[in-house]
Symmetry: C2
Subunit: 313 residues, 2 copies
């Protein structure tokens, strides 16, 4: 079934199969779509996530791979890896799925001091890392457009971020697939024992109000399709509704043959800049009006299975 026939069943912008406009010698280079740029990328355009800062959320349905950004939430990165390594999450559950918002997981008994699972080495309380101080050695690629929730936006080695140059702060933005630390009203009430992932339109109003620790690289669909829980917040009310977490693991603790080999596109390259512009001003045959703008959470951060050819470095 042809996806690209002009018949109404075909849909959307050109993917790899569409030919770019032919460029004359005097014109700019031919337009390439995001997928074309990715398909033509070099091995050096990609990096492999650090297994020490990569988590696996293991469900019966499969594995969710989460990459942590330790420079953006260092204390939570440490504490969450401690929780994972003490087996805190093993046998806990998916607690909540709210449409156009988040999926959340942790201890169903967390509110019951008698039944709540205790912490061993992990800290029970942690000051929020809603923002962290900006350091000049942090990776940062600025994006070209203004943003309503941050005076400066960009990408920090594969994570969408906002920055406040005056306050010298940086923080992750709540784009789709980002993972954060659930908390109560007190700013130190989230220690990483309950985590959430954004599964709807980016709730940017949460930026700088809660600690974000990373993003899902693969397996997001295992969470985003979770049946929705009870209104208004989507918490499951019956135990049988809560999908069990088999385990959470740090990738470095998993035998290499059992890890999920992923590449993440580097975001400090000309390739990445071309990708941003390719979506910012789409010039494929399907698009009739390029936007001239790209909002932060619309910036693609491609991930692929690591190629397994013999000549891959």
């Amino acid at each position: 079934m042809s996806r690209l026939a002009p018949f109404p069943s075909s849909f959307l912008f050109a993917l790899g199969a569409m030919a770019p406009f032919a460029a004359s010698a005097e014109e700019a280079p031919a337009y390439r779509t995001v997928n074309e740029i990715v398909a033509a990328s070099a091995p050096t355009d990609w990096r492999q996530p650090d297994p020490e800062h990569t988590l696996y959320l293991e469900l019966a349905s499969g594995r969710v791979v989460i990459e942590l950004a330790p420079w953006l939430a260092p204390k939570h990165d440490i504490n969450i890896r401690a929780l994972v390594r003490e087996g805190y999450f093993d046998g806990l559950a998916i607690l909540r799925s709210q449409d156009n918002y988040v999926v959340q997981w942790g201890d169903p008994e967390a509110d019951d001091e008698a039944k709540a699972r205790p912490f061993k080495t992990a800290k029970a309380k942690l000051d929020g890392e809603f923002t962290v101080p900006w350091r000049d050695d942090m990776p940062f690629t600025r994006l070209p457009d203004d943003d309503g929730y941050a005076s400066v936006v960009g990408v920090s080695d594969g994570f969408w971020v906002g920055r406040d140059p005056k306050a010298h702060e940086i923080w992750m933005a709540h784009c789709y697939g980002t993972v954060g630390v659930a908390r109560g009203n007190e700013t130190d009430s989230g220690n990483g024992a309950q985590l959430y992932v954004v599964t709807g339109h980016a709730p940017r109003h949460l930026d700088r109000n809660i600690t974000l620790v990373g993003r899902v690289l693969s397996g997001i669909e295992l969470l985003s399709t979770m049946p929705r829980g009870a209104p208004p917040m989507g918490f499951y009310e019956k135990p049988e509704q809560r999908t069990a977490i088999k385990a959470m693991r740090v990738a470095a603790d998993v035998p290499e043959a059992e890890r999920t080999a992923l590449d993440v596109l580097r975001t400090d390259t000309a390739t990445f800049a071309e990708i941003v512009e390719a979506k910012r001003n789409r010039r494929d045959p399907w698009t009739k009006l390029p936007s001239g703008h790209i909002e932060l959470c619309n910036v693609p951060l491609p991930v692929r299975a690591t190629p397994t050819t013999a000549d891959t470095p």
Copy 2:
């Protein structure tokens, strides 16, 4: 289980149960959350969708209610209702579910001229209504903040819109839950026979490139949880993966006792203005830093089941 205990299992901003800050006589009125404002609203804050411009997508799992905005896509509104009334969609299927993007439905055989379901009274081709000319009699409530994809943004009687005052154009924006008309590369290749709904972060780059016709008022979760289809675009490759559409109907053609009675919040009221500001600058105990900004697709457009008390007008 208390959702609002400061214990880590509770999460997020105050809902109706949180007390607003007490205001002294000299201060501004006490802050109310979106949910508090909605709970305290008057019957006159709400309107009932016009059954002639409301569609039901009937699945085995339940009903998806779609409200059309005829002033924003008049020809497609007519043609889609014609398609629905000629039973075009009955027995067709959900064709596609792409994570963080769209769910799409229509004729699985649309690309096969021999097997494709023919149109009867509905037009096979329709000029795109990617934007429509702005008329002064169109409902419009401007939003307070700038937007990267439109020089002016607002809400038009319950639909998120962009406007270009210089070109005198208005168009719907691709916020979560909005419904559009799939097309090929030709601008007249979408006639409404294939429809999609946004089920992820708002793909605003599609604004003004494709006709949007309405939005889902209820039942979105029946679509947003659809298993994802095959990469890269999420089309289902096997017939058994395609959820059947029992029927699509115009609400006006359904006996009143079988309709879904919904209220949509009016967007030309002080109540709505307060809701926008309540999310734009959240001042509940959970929020530590109000945003001072609200992006278009972050603006709530509340829907509720019509109350059934005896004194409801």
